[in-house]
């Protein structure tokens, strides 16, 4: 009976998919037995294929369409082009701020939560990886939270346990702190560290400007990379290391360009030259190494970038042919010319042609951008000032009202200048990222015929980045101090990094307690406690991996006199690296998609958590789309999120050379 029902369900599918697949196979002249096999294959995988089309491909394409519209619940759909992406990615709109905050919160969960989860899971697995009675019972208990944490019941229990006043966790912590004076100190130290760190993070997520620190980061990355390169002779491994960092730097820049540059209105064409320049650096490097397929990939990518940039410029609402023609033509020449040049000639000629074209273009950009006067107080003065340890931060006392530039400066509010004007007056940190890319690119591209030039580039870069890191860091500190003090003096309750300044100013008193569910400083640690509690799934995977490590390895190491730690580092960790890798990927994706815990913590009695300070990217998407009815904007958010998750995953695969699959 059941069999015939199943047949009745499956038969129509056979006609739909199986027959059509067989027809296509017949048309392409496949043998009859093969035709039948194909028909069967498609018939049985039919449910998934149909589901894939209806629930994945169709919706994905439709959501791409929706992201370019102003769709709202109950309103007619209207095409608005890139406007959704613009509001979300640039400017100071509440949406942009919300997305930025949600993304940073998600990164907090990924960067702090995932390592803790992995350490906990590995620790539990190592504890359970032995033959003792009752061990299975313990394994079951350790895994149990995974089953329960997916639903609201236990999350609510945690929610209740973490109540600040009368909650179980705080009562236990208090008892622990009161039992011994050292514990009391540790308790207060924990409060101090968590509040300072989260206070700083909250400032970041609110979009408080970090000033010159934005230059310190790329400069420090350049410095650290060059530090690993400068000593000893040159080798292939050094080259590949430099190439990896270079790839990351280029990726960061191109993403920022694509995200911020392409969606600006009208499109900021300087981003286009910049992207093309970086792509060309990459084309030259790969051409020098004879990696033809990679060269093709970058050529295609860069051409798409230029064409998209130009098309989007023409389409953007602010574009006029008279006003933007020069910029538009420059973009064509800067981006297109070397790219087209790079398509011709044999491999060696191609390299030099492209390099030549690039240099010409760079000279033009420099000429246009660095017109006389730039070095004195202009944008590029940073490149001279920081390496000579001078500050670019002006304080009101330093200003001379008789000078024209300073008069302008004094006209505006000083705080306002620090907040809005800083990044406008000084050039974008992206130029420093670009500088790192150019120097690393040069080091990688110079082959063994020019060891002196390479060495010079390394030492020069090292000196420059060292001084620049120190200079911009010092200036960053000054900026931080000045802005906070000005804001504090002005009596504003939400001045620059206010929470950090208050939290780090004084050591907590005895009566302080963690405000898990009330304070924005504690909600993220609370969420991480809950995720660590349910890290049993990773534990099972580690347990399986640990069981796969051959015991002879440990015995051999023991004979050689390796101690416990040495055995762990040089046998266990390499042998279980695939499991670590798997857990990291799953953990990062899960962190970006955290939903249930946040839903429970936000929609709950007695709590007054600010959603902004805890929501993940996935929750932000949910709230904007389904609670506030912004379908079009939600579709745009979902695509931004999809790109970020895919990039994170692909990057983790790309940099997974520490994973040892030869078990």
């Amino acid at each position: 009976m059941l069999h015939s029902v199943l047949i009745a369900v499956v038969k129509p599918q056979r006609f739909l998919l199986g027959k059509s697949a067989a027809l296509i196979a017949k048309w392409r002249g496949v043998k009859v037995t093969e035709q039948r096999k194909i028909a069967n294959g498609f018939m049985f995988s039919g449910p998934w294929i149909i589901g894939f089309v209806i629930f994945v491909v169709g919706p994905a394409l439709y959501s791409l369409f929706l992201s370019f519209t102003s769709a709202k619940i109950g309103d007619p759909i209207q095409w608005i082009g890139l406007a959704n992406y613009r509001t979300l990615l640039i400017g100071h709109s509440t949406e942009a701020q919300g997305l930025n905050q949600a993304m940073l919160n998600s990164f907090y969960y990924a960067i702090i939560g995932v390592p803790l989860q992995i350490i906990a899971a590995l620790g539990m697995a190592m504890l359970l990886n032995r033959e003792l009675p009752l061990i299975r019972g313990f394994r079951t208990i350790f895994y149990l939270p995974v089953i329960l944490a997916g639903g609201p019941a236990l999350l609510l229990a945690w929610r209740y346990m973490l109540t600040s006043n009368g909650g179980f966790v705080n009562i236990i912590l208090r008892k622990f702190a009161d039992s011994f004076f050292l514990f009391g100190f540790l308790y207060k130290l924990m409060i101090y560290l968590v509040e300072s760190f989260d206070g700083f993070f909250t400032g970041l997520t609110r979009g408080d400007p970090v000033g010159p620190f934005a230059y310190t980061i790329p400069a420090a990355i350049g410095l650290l990379t060059l530090l690993t390169l400068f000593r000893g002779g040159w080798s292939e491994s050094k080259r590949s290391r430099a190439l990896r960092v270079l790839e990351l730097v280029i990726l960061i820049t191109v993403y920022s360009l694509a995200f911020k540059g392409l969606v600006s209105d009208p499109i900021d064409l300087s981003w286009t030259y910049f992207g093309c320049g970086l792509a060309l650096v990459f084309i030259i490097i790969n051409a020098a190494q004879g990696k033809k397929s990679l060269v093709r990939l970058w050529q295609v990518g860069a051409l798409i970038f230029v064409i998209a940039g130009i098309v989007l410029t023409l389409l953007s609402s602010g574009f006029t042919f008279t006003g933007n023609t020069t910029a538009y033509l420059t973009a064509m020449i800067v981006g297109g010319f070397p790219l087209v040049v790079s398509l011709f000639g044999n491999w060696t000629r191609r390299k030099y042609l492209t390099l030549g074209a690039l240099l010409v273009i760079l000279a033009i950009i420099l000429f246009v951008r660095l017109v006389p006067g730039q070095l004195d107080g202009g944008q590029v003065s940073l490149l001279v000032r920081y390496p000579t340890l001078q500050s670019t931060i002006k304080s009101p006392a330093d200003l001379d009202p008789t000078k024209a530039t300073d008069k302008d400066f004094l006209k505006n509010d000083y705080v306002d200048y620090l907040k809005n004007g800083y990044n406008k007056d000084n050039f974008s940190p992206l130029w420093i990222w670009g500088l790192v890319a150019v120097i690393l690119g040069g080091i990688v591209a110079l082959n063994n015929r020019f060891p002196k030039a390479r060495q010079a580039l390394i030492y020069g870069g090292l000196a420059f980045f060292l001084l620049f890191t120190i200079g911009s860091f010092r200036d960053g500190q000054a900026y931080f101090q000045t802005y906070s003090d000005t804001g504090k003096a002005a009596g504003s309750p939400v001045y620059h990094f206010a929470l950090f300044r208050t939290a780090s100013a004084t050591f907590p008193t005895d009566d302080r307690r963690p405000l898990w569910m009330e304070s924005e400083l504690w909600s993220k640690p609370a969420l991480i406690i809950i995720t660590v509690w349910s890290s049993g799934a990773g534990m099972l995977i580690f347990l399986a991996a640990l069981k796969g490590v051959p015991p002879q390895l440990y015995e051999a190491a023991e004979v050689d006199g390796a101690n416990r730690l040495q055995r762990f580092i040089s046998i266990t960790l390499p042998m279980i690296s695939p499991a670590i890798f798997y857990n990291v990927i799953i953990g990062v994706i899960a962190a970006l998609q955290t939903f249930d815990t946040i839903y429970i913590m936000v929609n709950n009695p007695g709590g007054n958590l600010i959603t902004d300070q805890i929501q993940s990217a996935a929750y932000f998407l949910f709230a904007r789309t389904f609670q506030q009815g912004q379908i079009g904007e939600g579709a745009a958010i979902s695509w931004i999120l999809a790109v970020i998750i895919l990039t994170a995953t692909v990057l983790q695969f790309r940099y997974s050379n520490w994973v040892n699959y030869e078990a």
């Binding site: 049985f44 294929i49 229990a157």
Partner: protein, 298 residues
């Protein structure tokens, strides 16, 4: 518990090297102590939940603090069981879970069969495509799926939650089932083909019965996922008579009443968790093995 197990393990060790075994005994005791403490951490929220559900409101008002109720009270449960909305939500949850389980298990076993036992041109491509969807975040399709079901007039129905299951469920579960089906000997199919069996018959009479352990695992995964599911119901179901249990629990006490009636919330939570616990404890052995299997291949 700790002392009892220690003596057990000491009895097992050979008394030949006394110092070594004494050291081993100490180490074992230490390991058990650590595991016991950890178990306390993992089980505590559950204990706390059950304990609270048996307390009265005065017992949970702040200065009061007891780990377990002085006198267990069942009035919170009685109150809950007298509500019609509770039964409604429980029935809804069971209904959704049943439909999803039936549909998904049926469809993914067909698909896993196609990917493991049948050989056909295009299998590699379709399989790669399926594994590719694992990388695609579910958020990318959430919004247009909503639009799709909105246009079909299916908001405030169970269809958006139950129907996708009939079309392949999740790639991860198909992969799990496929991995298992690959381990079955190839000769089974060959013998059946000699006897003139069609692929459909082979699937139903040979492969399905042999794949029972893997299907059980998949079913448990699906059940746990569906029973706990909060996101989809909160998108598609807004009428309170359609609420499944997760939404019932969340919204039941969503008012800003102080003091928060935690004892009621926890009582509902306990009743919600019971099926999960029962299913998990009954099947945990298969469950644990299958996760380990997929992970080590990942």
């Amino acid at each position: 518990m700790t002392t009892a197990t220690t003596t057990l393990s000491e009895a097992q060790t050979k008394p030949s090297l006394r110092i070594r075994s004494a050291m081993g005994g100490l180490k074992t005791t230490l390991i058990y102590a650590v595991m016991g403490l950890l178990s306390l951490f993992f089980l505590f929220p559950l204990v706390w939940m059950i304990g609270t559900s048996l307390k009265t409101i005065t017992e949970i008002t702040p200065p009061q603090f007891n780990l377990l109720p002085v006198v267990p009270q069942f009035q919170n449960y009685a109150k809950l069981l007298s509500q019609e909305a509770f039964y409604q939500a429980y029935t809804n949850s069971i209904f959704i879970a049943t439909i999803v389980l039936l549909g998904t298990v049926f469809s993914i076993s067909l698909v896993a069969y196609a990917f493991s036992r049948l050989e056909w041109k295009g299998r590699g491509i379709v399989f790669a495509l399926m594994m590719g969807t694992l990388l695609l975040p579910s958020q990318a399709t959430l919004v247009p799926q909503y639009a799709l079901f909105f246009n079909l007039g299916w908001l405030q129905t169970f269809n958006p939650i139950t129907l996708p299951g009939f079309f392949g469920g999740g790639a991860a579960l198909i992969f799990l089932l496929r991995q298992f089906m690959l381990t079955l000997p190839k000769e089974l199919d060959e013998a059946a083909v000699m006897d003139g069996a069609t692929p459909l018959e082979i699937w139903w009479y040979i492969i399905m019965p042999l794949s029972r352990p893997a299907i059980a695992t998949v079913t448990v995964f699906l059940f746990v996922g569906q029973w706990n599911n909060l996101l989809l119901p909160s998108i598609y179901l807004q009428r309170s008579q359609l609420f499944p249990m997760p939404l019932f629990i969340v919204f039941k006490n969503n008012s800003n009443v102080t003091p928060v009636p935690w004892q009621d919330i926890m009582a509902a939570s306990v009743l919600f968790v019971i099926p999960l616990l029962v299913v998990f404890i009954l099947t945990q052995r298969y469950f644990v093995q299958s996760i380990a299997m997929t992970g080590s291949k990942g």
